[in-house]
């Protein structure tokens, strides 16, 4: 059988394997990136806490604790390969009573998927924390001062003024992190999670068409990452166009945003 025939054979007979794998990869990448981003914002805020001279001793202690915990979290999850983290969480879970393989809400969100989601989300949150923190540091101090001078609280200023600008600054890097997650979710096959990469072994363990199988997933991975790049580029372009087109009144109408 030629390579082309092998590919056609695999797609005809094991197409559903690849679709299921693709679905699992997408769920891992999307949820991992979005929830990771949300947690990352919180860790970035904690790590960026400033301890002022005039703070009371208890506030100083709390700020110091938050900063230290965030730093430990970021360094720990960034410093260890995700494959090792996945094994530690999977087998470590059992030692504290969480038997991941026995968990399962449905056939799709089974214990392996939940464990995988946990690992990819927490791992992403560490990277996102640093991405968001660098985005926040790029926002001029004057933005914070203006908001505070008008009577807005620190948290109001952070959520309504600083974070939106930090996220806009970091949009390309956040998109990059999503692409990394699409590809790196493949390492989660070590805990038995059948995502896109693992679907190849399932589809080829009887026919040995490995090259054809891996070519199929390579093309799917490439399509996913190219589409993501395109969307991110389009989003960034729209922002740029918005700035250079002052007369597009509709584009600038932020009434909806105001009502939030």
């Amino acid at each position: 059988m030629s390579l082309i025939e092998q590919i056609v054979y695999l797609l005809n007979n094991y197409g559903s394997y690849f679709v299921k794998g693709l679905l699992a990869t997408l769920v891992l990448a999307i949820i991992g990136t979005l929830v990771g981003l949300f947690l990352g914002i919180i860790f970035a805020l904690l790590r960026n806490l400033k301890i002022n001279k005039q703070d009371k001793a208890f506030v100083k202690f709390l700020k110091g604790l938050g900063k230290t915990l965030a730093t430990i979290h970021i360094e720990l999850w960034r410093g260890i390969p995700m494959m090792v983290q996945a094994m530690l969480v999977f087998f470590g879970g059992a030692s504290i009573g969480i038997v991941w393989s026995a968990l399962g809400f449905s056939s799709f969100f089974n214990g392996y998927m939940i464990c995988g989601l946990f690992v990819i989300t927490v791992n992403t949150s560490a990277y996102m924390a640093e991405i968001v923190r660098s985005g926040m540091n790029g926002v001029e101090d004057g933005q914070m001062e203006a908001a505070r001078s008008l009577g807005m609280t620190y948290m109001q200023t952070i959520w309504k003024v600083v974070i939106p600008q930090a996220l806009k600054n970091s949009l390309p890097t956040i998109g990059n992190e999503f692409i990394v997650n699409i590809k790196d979710s493949s390492v989660l096959n070590v805990i038995g999670l059948t995502e896109l990469y693992a679907s190849v072994s399932a589809a080829t363990n009887r026919n040995y068409f490995q090259i054809a199988g891996y070519l199929i997933v390579a093309v799917i991975y490439l399509l996913l990452t190219l589409c993501t790049s395109l969307i991110i580029r389009q989003l960034s372009k729209e922002k740029k166009n918005g700035i250079s087109n002052p007369f597009n009144v509709k584009h600038f109408d932020e009434n909806k945003e105001v009502s939030k």
Partner: protein
């Protein structure tokens, strides 16, 4: 809050960094209702730091600031700040909001006004500063002078009792400067209480009822502009006005 004059009373205000760099030394003065106070002096005199201390963007090292007779340390800092507006040299408009959004956001978050009411007040104030037609523009798409006028409208939306201007025209060319000064003059006519740190000596002379001269952190003169310009006894004040602004006593 009990009402009494002055609105803000500054007593023996001092600010130092690292206990070595003394930026403000023993500053005392009152801001009464309707006052238009111009603060002048060479760069590094502590003028901006003093304004920032009044708005609590800087925490004074010593001294007290009273708002209607109450020490501001005992007040809610955010409520106090909403009564004391501030306009910055570098405008500091929120880059993620439109012109209208800049005026609406603080009203919604601090004063908890409804969207409709906040927008109505925002549009009124934007019209007052001549920016009503550009309310849907992004802040990146308007000129420096327009940005400063929006910043003034944003501060006015909070109905402040006092407005603090920190060199509002220093970053602007002469044409834009005059447009911003016109807006400030309109506010003076409406009776707004304000403290203006400025290098625009003619403006200071024309609109202020009090003139404060600062140097090296000291307050060297606090009198009517006529008295400061014509009969100030402090030699340093006279030298500065003569040298820097060619104003001869």
């Amino acid at each position: 809050m009990k009402k009494s004059n002055p609105i803000i009373s500054i007593k023996n205000l001092a600010k130092s960094y690292d206990d070595q760099t003394h930026v403000l030394k023993n500053i005392s003065f009152d801001i009464n209702k309707g006052d238009v106070i111009s603060v002048i002096g060479p760069s590094g005199a502590g003028k901006s730091t003093m304004l920032r201390c009044i708005n609590q963007l800087e925490i004074p090292s010593k001294g007290t600031i009273e708002f209607h007779g109450e020490n501001i340390d005992t007040l809610n800092i955010n409520t106090y700040r909403s009564h004391v507006g501030m306009v910055f040299q570098s405008f500091n408009l929120f880059n993620n909001r439109s012109v209208l959004g800049n005026c609406v956001l603080p009203q919604r978050t601090v004063l908890k006004r409804s969207k409709k009411e906040a927008e109505k007040i925002a549009i009124e104030n934007l019209n007052l500063v001549g920016m009503g037609k550009r309310m849907h523009f992004r802040t990146n798409n308007i000129s420096g002078g327009e940005k400063q006028r929006v910043a003034i409208a944003r501060a006015l939306c909070m109905n402040p009792e006092v407005l603090l201007f920190d060199e509002p025209t220093s970053a602007l060319d002469p044409e834009m400067t005059s447009s911003v000064l016109e807006v400030i003059k309109t506010l003076v006519k409406s009776g707004m209480t304000m403290v203006v740190v400025t290098h625009e000596m003619q403006f200071a002379k024309a609109v202020a009822n009090k003139l404060i001269f600062m140097e090296h952190g000291y307050l060297l003169a606090n009198d009517t502009p006529e008295n400061v310009f014509n009969s100030c006894k402090d030699e340093r004040v006279n030298t500065f006005l003569h040298q820097e602004y060619n104003i001869d006593n």
